[in-house]
Symmetry: C2
């Protein structure tokens, strides 16, 4: 819980407004996996909901379907290498995927109330309960989750989910395009609300 | 079409991988509207699909439902003021909303094959045909669209939807958080694909 502050589930959607690439974590039956997912998006607030695209080929999807829960983490710039590693190897092909990423420098830890492993170096963490939608899941690989808990790293975010990355470049969010090509979130821009 | 290059619909989803705040445009029965929407996300490729959250209160939603089409534009930093303006006033409350934004400096133009007005100063433009999903639309305000045409500004993006914002800060994408608080997309980060 080092550096983490709890974010109310009603406003946790704001963590995902930046449109950052997330890590998806899931655990079931003593198994776990973590994979990157750029296709995540807020869907609602009070409590917050998100959409998440999980292709049928992903090991993580089976764990989400078995447990009914997934976590989203927003990895920072300093762990971009681990994000690539988690996205390049499937646990279907290498049962030791997570152990190898840990051997490569990733640190995993637990948060209260969930057995989903979290990766250090993320700007925010949230746990979602799946709202089952069979047609969306089968036809579009689209999952809907409702937030049950959320945390942000207080070095870059407060309990109202307002970001301030100045002075902590390592936690700037990643925005993946394709082929190992990311952008990092940049400067803030404050505009008066229009009258 | 000044500065715009066509992006194949199969890979147009990549334009939305950055997770940027979009403008949603729609037109029907001689009426049109443009509003910002942070909650947009890729859903599939070949041809590209996206999800888009459109609350029932939005004037734009009625136009999308009547026409079966919407456009997404990715406004750049230089038009952030117009984005705020388009998001603060509803055309339900002010029938002259669009004319006032134009009077405030926004420039609208047309692209081939669509009557949806586009706003200059965006890094990319795409038109989507709604794939009707009544339950998603009614229960979650969630629309699914399939890309029928896409363009990007060649000063910052090529026809493969690869971005390069160096030297053109005005077109850096906006990532909205809340209350007039945006972030602008920052530097790129290239990582080797992991072996």
């Amino acid at each position: 819980m080092q550096n983490l502050v709890s974010v109310p589930v009603d406003i946790a959607y704001r963590l995902f407004n930046l449109g950052a690439t997330a890590l998806v974590g899931a655990a079931a039956e003593g198994r776990c996996d973590i994979m990157p997912a750029t296709w995540n998006c807020p869907l609602d607030y009070g409590p917050s909901k998100v959409t998440l695209v999980l292709d049928k080929c992903h090991y993580t999807r089976e764990l989400v379907e078995k447990s009914g829960y997934f976590a989203l983490m927003l990895p920072g710039k300093a762990v971009a290498k681990q994000v690539m590693q988690l996205g390049t190897v499937s646990k279907h092909d290498d049962a030791e995927k997570i152990e190898k990423v840990v051997a490569g420098g990733a640190e995993l830890f637990n948060l209260p109330g969930t057995d989903i492993p979290m990766m250090r170096g993320c700007a925010a963490y949230a746990v979602f309960k799946v709202i089952p939608q069979k047609e969306n899941e089968e036809k579009f690989d689209l999952f809907i989750g409702e937030c049950v808990a959320a945390w942000a790293d207080k070095r870059v975010c407060n309990e109202k989910a307002h970001w301030n990355f100045a002075g902590c470049d390592d936690l700037r969010t990643l925005h993946y395009v394709a082929g190992g090509h990311f952008f990092v979130i940049g400067d803030e821009l404050n505009l008066p609300e229009y009258d």
